[in-house]
């Protein structure tokens, strides 16, 4: 009887407190989610409205008759199909290039002893501190002076080396136990065979993580494509295409928003599918 009472005395404030904190959590999260999603939601709704409906007072919070043709107009009239293809190409080139060069360099730094290793490593780390923005003056001149200009390569080659990639992947290669490498040596396996057959499969999680941020970074690039493709429609990427679409007068806001949705869908899918890799790479080593 007494113990029963004691239990209740202890339990009830705790329970109600736990319930209250649960309630507060949901409240905070739901409010936050609404604030975060509202603009996106409105954008989706408006991308399905006619120009007249968009200007309506009070605003429409759902599309009464979804204007799918806005998407078609964005694709065809707004040339988004071309830009989309360019963005895909650009992303693939940057990702393949930076993943490959980073893998090779990271493996080398993690595996071999060679003269100047420390100096070269310091150089790599130093590039981590240089923001791309402060290099565009010269990079623009460099690219303009090569015949890369006017091709997709101009957009991608400058990003095919990645200090972050080298850093993350070196970390991963270093985490492979030394005995595994030694076992392969005794089994008669040379360094490159070890690289392909053993090391790369073992760093797959980190490789996936780096690939995901590389995709994200390449797809969302703004400054460099802006510099190169503002006047070069043939190589314009989706992000810059959105700017063109936005400054165009004829299309209407529904079409512009449709374009924005088209540009964001691939990354949203990426995020939902590869959420874990994304988090791992965004926090990359700075936070365990």
């Amino acid at each position: 009887m007494t113990s029963d009472l004691a239990v209740r005395e202890v339990a009830s404030p705790k329970n109600s407190r736990a319930r209250r904190s649960k309630f507060v959590s949901y409240l905070v999260l739901t409010l936050g989610a609404i604030v975060v999603l509202f603009p996106l939601y409105m954008a989706i709704v408006s991308s399905l409205l006619t120009p007249v409906q968009i200007g309506q007072q009070p605003p429409l919070f759902y599309p009464p008759s979804p204007q799918w043709r806005n998407y078609g107009d964005a694709f065809i009239g707004g040339h988004l199909s071309t830009y989309l293809w360019n963005s895909v190409l650009q992303t693939v080139e940057i990702v393949v290039g930076s993943v490959l060069t980073s893998l090779l360099a990271a493996f080398s730094f993690a595996t071999f002893e060679f003269p100047l290793k420390k100096v070269l490593w310091a150089l790599m780390l130093a590039t981590l501190l240089i923001p791309f923005e402060v290099t565009i003056v010269t990079n623009y001149q460099t690219i303009s002076s090569t015949h890369l200009l006017g091709s997709m390569w101009a957009l991608t080659v400058p990003f095919m080396g990645s200090a972050i990639g080298i850093f993350l992947l070196r970390q991963a290669f270093l985490a492979i136990p030394g005995e595994i490498r030694e076992a392969t040596i005794l089994d008669g396996c040379g360094p490159m065979r070890y690289f392909w057959r053993v090391a790369i499969p073992l760093v797959r999680p980190q490789l996936a993580a780096f690939t995901v941020i590389a995709v994200l970074g390449a797809w969302n690039q703004y400054l460099w494509p802006l510099l190169l493709t503002s006047n070069d429609e043939a190589h314009r990427t989706l992000q810059i295409g959105l700017k063109t679409l936005n400054s165009g007068t004829f299309e209407g806001y529904g079409v512009v928003l449709a374009g924005a949705m088209i540009a964001s869908v691939p990354m949203l899918i990426l995020m939902v599918v590869f959420n874990r890799q994304l988090v791992r790479s965004l926090t990359g080593g700075a936070i365990k």
Binding site: S25, V28, L29, G32, V36, L37, P39, M42, A43, S46, I54, Q57, P58, P59, L60, T101, S102, L104, A105, T111, F112, F114, K117, L120, I130, P131, F132, V134, T135, I136, V137, T138, N139, Y140, T142, M160, G161, S162, M192, L216, W219, N220, Y222, L226, Q239, L242, Y253, V256, L257, A260, A263, S264, M267, M271, V272, N275, V279, L282, T283, I287
Partner: protein
């Protein structure tokens, strides 16, 4: 264990593997970065093709004391102040709320992460459209849009900041969630068992333990904010940016490369901006170092 010949061939292999990355990073980061330090000594030629004229350090000091630079610095600073503290705070609050084993957390996580993967162009278009007075949303909310926000010298920077903030919340949330996950569970449990109220536990346990993460997110946010110019470019443009006080330093670099080419001045601003970020980065290192010492 290895003969001299083997060691030499291994060295060759090692250097060959590094070469592609090294060449790329040197050509597209190191070289152009250091090139700034020669460019900034020369005036741009009056006409393209003419030789550049030696300016010495005066050009640098002229640039960083010019009105436009100071305006750019102010715009960058205001933008950073508007975006980063609020973004850090909101990210922290949301991540703490989501750091519980409750139903539906995965959905919330996904929602908050969406903003981190949205490009600046998408964010600018989504928000920019609704800031347009032709559309119904703002008037309906009772917000006077004359002159329109994007053309308003007082409010344009806030419009830019809201876009940046929206994007930053996602990243801030992700980083804090990871930071929370790396905290020792027992410590938080212990605080609960000691009878601390959630609010008290949050301020006396979670926040101190999370302080390195807070600092890190802060740094990441500040550096990103200092290089912002996408929404300015997309919604306002190089001509009007200055008039509405959103002509950030990063945007000015772009303008001096493209719209009014002047490599010397562009280099000066690049150097100034780099020094500012270097200070932030070093402060971050110092802080983390101190924390490590403290921990051990």
């Amino acid at each position: 264990m290895t003969t001299v010949r083997q060691r030499r061939s291994e060295t060759v292999l090692a250097l060959c593997l590094i070469a592609p990355a090294l060449v790329l990073l040197t050509v597209f980061l190191l070289y152009p970065f250091f090139k700034n330090f020669t460019l900034f000594l020369y005036h741009a030629p009056p006409y393209p093709g003419l030789p550049s004229k030696w300016a010495g350090f005066s050009q640098f000091f002229d640039t960083i004391s010019s009105t436009s630079f100071l305006e750019g610095l102010t715009a960058t600073a205001i933008y950073t102040v508007l975006v980063v503290p609020i973004g850090v705070f909101l990210g922290l609050v949301l991540s703490v709320a989501a750091h519980q084993k409750l139903k539906g957390m995965a959905i919330y996580r996904t929602i908050f992460a969406t903003t981190a993967v949205s490009s600046v162009a998408v964010a600018a278009i989504v928000f920019g459209t609704f800031m347009n007075p032709v559309l119904g949303l703002l008037p309906w909310l009772g917000i006077d849009t004359n002159p329109t926000i994007l053309q308003n010298p007082t409010w344009a920077i806030f419009a830019m900041a809201i876009i940046g903030l929206w994007q930053f919340i996602g990243l801030s949330f992700i980083l804090f969630s990871a930071g929370l996950q790396s905290l020792p569970e027992e410590v938080l449990e212990a605080a609960k068992l000691d009878g601390a109220s959630p609010a008290k536990a949050f301020f006396t346990v979670t926040i101190p333990l999370l302080s390195p993460t807070i600092f890190y997110v802060f740094t990441v946010g500040v550096i990103a904010a200092m290089f912002t110019f996408g929404q300015m470019d997309l919604l306002i443009g190089p001509g009007a940016a200055s008039a509405v006080h959103v002509n950030t330093l990063a945007y000015q670099i772009y303008q001096y490369v493209v719209t009014q080419p002047n490599p010397g001045v562009a280099a000066c601003i690049s150097i100034a901006l780099f020094i500012l970020t270097a200070i932030v980065t070093l402060a971050n290192f110092r802080f983390l170092e101190r924390r490590v010492n403290y921990d051990v």
